[in-house]
């Protein structure tokens, strides 16, 4: 009921010209502002208190309160048996966590960034993702791999890659990409409760961003379904599908496009694997134009997969070629100006949407 009221208010409010995205979110006076960091922290607190089999393992998760303070307060509350600080050996502690999951526990493994998960990728793919299938369903691996993913600021090539497409290619894994606090809380809770391995890709630059959260979201039983995208902004001229930080950029782009008379529909994918093909296709069948936005490398990316699924299911509905916005096809450069050019900016999304609407020459 609250959801329907919220949608109608969003539709009404989206018709007005707005100078900033934050105005779009101030629809409920009861909404509490919560940062993504607080949302993740509260989700971990609640899931750990609800189920004693849940434990945390990773570098700096305990004494240091988390490299990005996501696990603040958990060591004090649950003790060193359930919040394990590890040495710097991703392959080691990931393997240990997977073994624990085989035997019935529910580990939440933190990678300081997902770039370091490459040290442990054998365990994520071969030990965790494939085990349920290889054992004909006998071994379940209720593990969550979480941590910041994608580019930060000036951290160079080896600290800036987005791994959504890599992990989403693997059957046996679920891949989630929260954007705001509601996503962070709901999806992390769902991930911890899920009986299968889940790769939970956060974003370092979103940790400090604050979003309004309703009482429903703050409730300890709140959970979002895995595999369902959310339409953040309804529109009728072009669909913009994005995940993680790019959802924020897409919403900003939609505001700019509105001034030019283009009403963009913004989809927050939330779940990269399983991909919500039906929401994406329903939206494209309505708007007939699609722009995909991601921060990652373009080849074999999430945008490529979305384009393929739309071509497979809704080809006759497309009025224009699918526009794909992605990061530049280079390792992330260090220099600030090059880094800016290597990542999608709001202007790139605006231009792509205009191209899709044939409002500009490419």
């Amino acid at each position: 009921m609250l959801g329907i009221v919220r949608q109608k208010m969003l539709e009404r409010s989206s018709k007005k010209i707005r100078p900033a995205v934050s105005m779009l979110r101030s629809y409920s006076s009861a909404a509490k502002q919560m940062t993504v960091r607080e949302a993740l922290n509260s989700a971990l607190h609640e899931e750990m208190s609800a189920d004693s089999k849940v434990f945390l393992i990773g570098e700096e998760v305990g004494e240091y309160q988390g490299a990005y303070k996501i696990t603040k307060g958990l060591l004090d509350k649950y003790g060193p048996d359930r919040v394990l600080d590890t040495p710097i050996t991703e392959a080691g502690f990931t393997g240990i966590a997977v073994g624990a999951a085989y035997y019935g526990l529910k580990p939440v493994v933190e990678f300081m960034t997902f770039n370091f998960s490459m040290q442990a990728i054998d365990h994520i793919i071969n030990s965790a993702a494939k085990s349920n299938y290889m054992s004909a369903g006998k071994i379940s691996v209720p593990i969550v791999f979480r941590g910041p993913n994608g580019a930060a600021a000036g951290v160079g090539a080896q600290h800036s890659q987005c791994y959504a497409a890599w992990y989403a290619a693997c059957p046996g894994l679920k891949v989630l990409t929260p954007y705001n606090s509601e996503d962070a809380r709901g999806l992390l809770k769902a991930a911890i409760r899920d009986p299968d391995p889940v790769v939970f890709l956060e974003n370092e630059l979103l940790y400090g961003e604050s979003f309004p959260t309703s009482d429903e979201v703050l409730d300890s039983s709140f959970c979002l379904p895995i595999g369902k995208a959310k339409i953040e902004r309804k529109g009728k001229h072009v669909t913009i599908a994005a995940y993680s930080k790019m959802v924020g950029y897409s919403l900003q782009a939609a505001e700019i496009l509105e001034k030019d008379g283009i009403d963009a529909e913004v989809i927050n994918l939330r779940s990269i694997r399983p991909l919500d093909r039906s929401t994406i296709n329903d939206s494209v069948r309505k708007t007939n134009r699609l722009v995909t936005v991601e921060e990652a490398f373009p080849q074999h990316g999430v945008g490529a997969e979305i384009c393929a699924c739309v071509v497979e299911e809704s080809f006759a509905y497309l009025d224009a070629p699918v526009e794909r916005i992605a990061g530049a096809d280079v390792p992330m450069p260090y220099a600030a100006n090059l880094e800016r050019m290597a990542l999608p900016q709001v202007g790139d999304i605006v231009r792509a949407a205009k191209r899709a609407c044939y409002r500009s020459v490419p």
Partner: protein, 223 residues
């Protein structure tokens, strides 16, 4: 082929007895510095040096005429390198505080003797594989300090044209093979570079020095 591990605590002769049959004994020419490798400009006449180097403790025990580990001029060269490293890192810290350098910066203050002591033993064709804490390794290996600082500022005049940044210093000319962000990442890489030397059976013995510590060992233990 020698590795850094061979130069342990015991006094080492500069023409070490090889323990493997594949090694070609190192031959220093008369005018080559017997302590410092060719990564620095050898402008001193070293012909008056004695052949064997002994450690300081041995010198104290022997009570014979003291044999210097290094000459005063060599000492000044080493000192200059260490002071350069320290001054450079202090400036980095200042620039980082002023937000002119961004991202990750890992300082090498206090460890200059390690960089100078090991890298100044090497020759031009020897390679160094470093970690994210690589500014001073680059300096000791001979990469101009201007190029390293420009790299930290993300300028095109940097040693990697602004693409690498603090943690990824590379130089083909000086055989600096990086600059790696992950713990222990460079260990197999350094081993591979040393393998190339052995594979090529080059007339000149060459050496690859992999620099790592602490946590890097743990990562490698599992690999």
């Amino acid at each position: 082929m020698s590795t850094a591990a061979m130069f342990g605590a015991q006094p080492f002769p500069l023409n070490p007895i090889s323990t493997t049959s594949h090694d070609i004994p190192l031959v220093f020419s008369k005018h080559t510095c017997q302590f410092l490798g060719l990564t620095w400009s050898s402008k001193f006449n070293l012909s008056r040096r004695s052949g064997t180097v002994v450690s300081v403790s041995d010198e104290k025990m022997s009570k014979s005429a003291p044999v210097l580990v290094i000459t005063k001029e060599e000492g000044l060269e080493l000192y200059e390198d260490m002071v350069l490293g320290r001054t450079f890192e202090n400036m980095c810290h200042q620039m980082f505080s002023l937000r002119k350098i961004f991202g990750f910066v890992h300082h090498y203050n206090g460890q200059e003797a390690v960089s100078t002591g090991f890298i100044k033993l090497l020759k031009q064709q020897d390679s160094v594989v470093s970690t994210y804490r690589d500014h001073v390794h680059a300096l000791s290996k001979g990469v101009p300090s201007r190029a390293v600082m420009s790299e930290l500022f993300g300028k095109i005049t940097g040693c990697c044209r602004g693409r690498g940044g603090s943690m990824h210093m590379f130089s083909r000319d000086h055989n600096l093979l990086g600059g790696f962000a992950y713990m222990g990442e460079g260990i197999p890489v350094a081993t591979g570079a040393a393998f190339t030397s052995k594979y090529k059976r080059s007339g000149l013995r060459s050496c690859c020095l992999g620099v790592f510590w602490g946590w890097g060992l743990q990562q490698c233990a599992l690999l």
